[in-house]
Assembly symmetry: C2
Homo-oligomer: 785 residues x 2
């Protein structure tokens, strides 16, 4: 990290120049919200110049532009890389205005040229069909953060800073966002950012005092209270306050340069600089409208003048407002920004709209992936041995850490996990690195160090947000979560999916590494915790999201998990949901078979069925997931032993999206292939990891979809034994056999004997487990033979 | 609120008595985790006395019991009502032990009697099949808070305190939980609890320093930092620290009595008392095991001695540990707790396990509901007029507030909403009450007051958590959310559903008011915001949860919304998800028709179809939701006008669960009724509010389910116009007509002309909206005629 530096004094000329940039940004912000014509105000403003629908958020915009303006100067002086994270992302027009002024916008979108025609287009495209959305979004150059669902700005900022020692991230946090849970927890990033290995995050808490229609908690608290809140969480606040731009700009540049020097000094103080900026909401906008105060109140939140087309007084106020920025002095006759203002922008990739840190694909290097063969279990006979499935993945991740780690202790890969890395049996990674921790250490700590690069914090929001920021700034990672608690950050996964969905449509957005999430400690094997820990709902939450982005993987064993992991780490712009439990499970496939079957998505397990060349199956037994696979195989074995005349096929589904039609998902299979696997009219007993209806929805439209009888997690759970879980949810081997016999419709003595056996085993289970507090040996120790 | 009081001094005898209670609680905690026999240690401990599977969390338990013990004394002295919220709910055995000692447990579960037989059963049932789960849960007397997914303790505590001026809520927050987002945001409850109208919340931040396998952020921070964090957010911390029980108990009772007096003084200071309790994790448990420190480290988190059955040294350590509590002095020959210890429990409903505040149905009064007629829109012709649908609900809610409000400014109903009450057009409620706000006021504030009872905070987690606490302690409420952002607290909704699912199986849990959530500002009409605000995924997240609890309602207009709202406010133990947009929409049904159709769940709209007594429909046009209903009717009108010879039926679905089979949901309809509505083989073009696959999954197994062609939100969105949204998602009237024509298979000139018309209208739309930034008049102003 470079040294701190002495900044040249902020002269009056500098200030006036900056205020002109700011005026230009504010002008273009208001113009985007209101104008469809006469966008440079070259003639008197008339109703027909106003858009018919006024959409956009003025309130936060001038503050954002003020920060952007001042940062531009600091960047020019220091020649440093800054990333701008816009927490109050509603202020989309402000960010667009600034990246337009710095030239980035026109380079990326040449149609929006740097002249009057470009400004006309800039205004018309804003918040209009076929144009750009009103919030900071994937379309906005320089952004890694969607300005919609609030709460994740500071987590994203930290994610981008990890392992980017040269980077400085300015993270603006609105006081609305500051009320959210994820943001409130994000102040703790101070305990995880290493002062030398990681970049710096400069939170700028922008207190403008109001949300849509009321005050904000932080905005209404005293400076003392705000300072205490930040100090307690590892930050040293610098207050910048006022409504006089000249005072605020001077104080702001002083606060930022002071912060810059503190970062560059690189001390590991527990007090990292943070700026608290109090400026009026809707600053420089209409002060009063229709006799009511607007500036500085919640009434400035969106469109402070709403009746402009109909109300001549509003039209007059709007024209005065626009002219107050003196557009004629900011844009030349061609509509180009005048050169002395344009010169205030940094150069090239230092421009915050052009920084490669916000277009991570530009700096992404493929992850050095060891060959999976080295970690694969040696499987000579399927279903004969048990192994904790995720442990093998832990060893693979350990060696990814080793292969990727740079000499200076950095790297491009991190594992994110609420305090569960060891619990999830991924603890082999601690042979390569430690848990990251900037607070004091004690002798009893295990695998904990400031330079550690495994990210553990008891917040799924932080884990997910950090990983998102890490990926979008050009790195790789994995979020490992207890399955049930992945729902905590489900909305973040949805928003990230939306981001990727739109990113793939933009040529200039270079693909980034996929967001990989491992759901482990699953519903079937949280028998030691209980119902609150049992929930496979994340699958349902992602199934209907963009098929170009979402994949759901259900590897039945360790070697398939390895193969899927490798695929996911190589993939780009996807969201991969991988479901695999951590407990010891039966292992089935050699690594070669695993790779073939993962690529196929769904396969027949010939060794488990009893078809011959001349028979057609009476029933298909299908499974997706580790516990379902075990139960369907145990069911198959019962059928084979008790009713050898019944012909059945066993199918295993690893890639859940393969069940969809081709038209619905790139992994979807055509009906012909579907029939090859599941036959055309045969009943299918399907044991599924999650809620049965997740499969039902995928099967809609398939030939005779009603013949699929799906058993899965039916929301029955508690603290109990593993087998009791499958019994409670009626997915046990005995339930599956009974279901198969029912649909086959056989009533011969052998079938009846088997049905009786299943009933009596379930009865026995009930008594056995209540006497012995553990499962019957014949199910506990069952293997395929 | 009562006066503060002078507490009698805490004598040595008091302390020793309390320590005996604490020993008894700790003994029973360890016994529950380990013992299946010899539960009172009347003989030497042998391997066969130990459970085969050791499940449970020791680490947090002794701290929880210490707090419980001291609170019992305070309750006896003050004769006050306390509710105990156990954030570290993993400590289930500790809470069970305490409510057993106070007698509540045996009153509720007589099988677990107050003698040796009862203790034997208490131990055997813990964490075993058919027994009780390992966490504090719905089965635990005195709990309103499931100890699984962390983050909601303080929100639940505040929810229970609102409008319960006599209640004191002790809310234990673990330092693991303190890292979560929802908990971090919950410190802000200080800005919403009114000191006189509401009860008091006493947060007890229990810093034992470790999570499963690592340190905690708060635990490792200095007292100064913790104090600053709390002070900044409105709390005055009282530190209690140590590992000597005699010192800690004295300090703790002093902290609690001091807090009690501060609450009873009732001042509205910005500094409410909060206790910070630092005690060792696994306090009084094995100090060292196998040469490694355990007590005070993360190794004490779950089962500190894990090899007891196989390892004689572990067995010996366990016996010493158990005997260290001197069970022989705590339980008499019959195994009854000795009388001088039993006498430490409060009496009757003052016992925290028996408080009616934790069994809200006991104190729940029906909500006084005005007749919906008074708010109903007067509909003489369907689809002829527009009205903002939620506005009518706002008027109804206003009068519920009026009818329910008590003379002292309290009540039993609250509306919870992130800063969006006005945006969601429910602002009529401000005629009855204000937004709740304990921070300073300024003249420009609208509808803001300390006594306000509309709860606005920009945190879906807090809104949801407050409502959950409010309901479980015996009141009524509604959470109104932007539809997309309801996903933020989806995991909470899942957990609350699980709670209700198990609660309904317990006779002693008296039914509570349903959790009602209004999803408004929906995906179809967030055209002014954009893609991040467009997501109907909450429907998918709840569909597979317990059918005994979950209902999803899609009222197409204001009168149906009123009818559904009334039904939901009367219902008990349900989770009602109601989807209705706030924008002006066409209105269809009189209040009488609305009530009939809401009760029916799904109905034929005869006036919209063109069947006669002698015809069978060529196609069924179905819709669920406001925008889908509008588009399906517009499609019907096109068919009627352009191809009058095509016979079609229009069906409207309000109760989504009615689509399920009878066997799958109490609202499910039998196939016979299903065929009456949708015919048996006719193609159905179904316009749906949410993701189409949400309907697909419900239809699985229905006669010829493949004939249902569902159009819905297909994850296409941006800032655009209302009609462009339905076009982007291919659910516009023109798409629906094309779909119908395709399936009918007509190729006559009229059908071809209509198909051409649809194509050309879509083409026209594309150009029109890009020129005019608004929708074509014929769709914008369309009404049914």
């Amino acid at each position: 990290m470079s040294e701190s530096r002495t900044f040249s004094p902020y002269s009056d000329e500098d200030l006036e120049a900056d205020l002109r940039w700011w005026s230009a940004a504010n002008y273009l912000t208001v113009a985007q919200i209101y104008l469809q014509d006469n966008t440079l105000l070259r003639e008197p403003l008339r109703a027909e110049h106003i858009k018919p629908r006024l959409l956009g958020h003025w309130g936060t915009s001038p503050g954002l532009s003020a920060i952007y303006t001042v940062l531009n100067r600091v960047i020019r002086q220091t020649d440093s890389d800054w990333l701008f994270v816009t927490g109050p992302g509603h202020g989309g027009p402000a960010l667009v205005a600034n990246v337009y002024l710095e030239g980035t916008y026109s380079e990326i979108y040449p149609d929006v040229s740097t002249d009057a025609r470009g400004i006309h287009r800039l205004c018309r495209q804003f918040s209009t069909p076929g144009g750009i959305p009103s919030h900071v979004s994937v379309q906005t150059p320089g952004s890694i953060h969607e300005g919609g669902e609030l709460g994740y700005a500071l987590a994203h900022a930290a994610g981008a800073a990890f392992d980017h020692p040269e980077l400085l991230v300015a993270c603006v946090i609105g006081d609305g966002e500051a009320e959210t849970g994820p943001l409130a927890a994000s102040w703790n990033v101070s305990s995880f950012l290493d002062p030398t290995r990681d970049g710096a995050v400069l939170p700028i808490l922008h207190l403008n005092g109001a949300k849509i229609s009321g005050p904000t908690v932080m905005g209404r608290r005293s400076d003392d209270q705000v300072a205490n809140t930040l100090r307690g969480q590892g930050w040293e606040p610098i207050f910048v306050e006022g409504d006089d731009p000249r005072i605020v700009f001077r104080a702001l540049i002083s606060a930022i340069t002071q912060s810059y020097n503190a970062f560059r000094a690189g001390n590991s103080s527990n007090r990292r600089p943070a700026i608290v900026l109090r400026t009026p909401k809707g600053w420089t906008g209409p002060h009063e409208v229709d006799g009511r105060l607007v500036e500085g109140t919640h009434r400035a939140h969106q469109v402070p003048l709403s009746g402009v087309r109909e109300n001549p007084e509003h039209l007059r106020l709007l024209e005065n407002w626009l002219r107050s920025y003196r557009p004629e002095e900011l844009f030349d006759d061609d509509g180009r920004i005048v050169s002395e203002v344009a010169a205030l922008a940094p150069i090239g990739d230092r421009r915050m709209g052009a920084t490669p840190y916000a277009n991570g694909g530009r700096i992404l290097k493929p992850l050095p992936l060891p060959s999976t063969d080295r970690y694969a279990l040696d499987i000579t006979r399927p279903g004969a041995t048990n192994h904790p499935t995720t442990r093998v993945l832990g060893e693979y991740l350990r060696d990814i850490y080793f292969a990727d780690q740079s000499a200076d202790g950095g790297g491009t890969f991190r594992l994110f996990c609420p305090d569960e890395t060891a619990s999830n049996r991924l603890d082999a990674v601690f042979e390569a690195t430690d848990r990251c921790w900037q607070l004091p250490l004690v002798p009893e700590d295990d695998n904990l160090a400031p330079k550690g690069r495994v990210m553990e914090v008891l917040s799924e929001h932080l884990c997910q947000g950090w990983l998102e920021g890490y990926l979008l700034s050009g790195r790789h990672g994995l979020f490992a979560s207890y399955e049930a608690f992945a729902m905590i950050s489900a909305s973040m996964l949805v928003q990230h999916t939306k981001w990727l969905q739109h990113a793939t449509r933009l040529d200039w957005r270079i693909p980034v590494a996929s967001l990989n999430i491992l759901l482990t400690s699953t519903c079937w094997r949280n028998d030691h915790n209980g119902f609150s820990h049992q929930g496979p709902g994340l699958i349902d939450a992602v199934l209907s999201l963009s098929p170009d982005v979402v994949r759901v993987w259900l590897p039945p064993d360790a070697n398939t998990l390895l193969s899927i992991a490798e695929h996911c780490f190589r993939s780009r712009d996807h969201v991969n949901v991988i479901v695999a439990d951590k407990q010891p499970h039966l292992q089935y496939l050699s690594i070669d078979d695993a790779e073939r079957q993962c690529a196929a998505g769904a396969s027949t397990w010939d060794w488990a069925g009893n078809e011959s060349d001349t028979t057609q199956p009476d029933v298909v037994l299908a499974a997706a997931g580790d516990v379902p696979t075990q139960e369907i195989l145990a069911a198959a074995q019962l059928l084979r032993e008790w009713t050898p005349e019944i012909c059945f096929r066993v199918v295993n589904v690893i890639d859940l999206m393969a069940l969809l039609p081709e038209s619905a998902h790139p992994h979807g299979m055509p009906d012909s292939h579907f029939i090859d696997l599941f036959a055309a009219t045969t009943d299918v007993v399907f044991a599924f990891h999650g809620y049965p209806r997740a499969v039902h929805q995928l099967l809609h439209g398939r030939p005779a979809a009603n013949r699929f009888h799906v058993r899965g997690f039916s929301e029955q759970g508690t603290t109990t034994t593993p087998f009791d879980m499958v019994v409670l949810n009626r997915m046990s081997r005995y339930h599956l056999v009974s279901e198969a016999l029912t649909w086959i419709g056989r009533d011969d003595p052998a079938a009846r004997r088997l049905a009786d056996h299943c009933r009596s085993q379930l009865e026995r289970h009930y008594h056995y487990v209540r006497e012995n507090f553990e499962d019957m040996p014949e199910v506990r120790d069952w293997t395929w033979s």
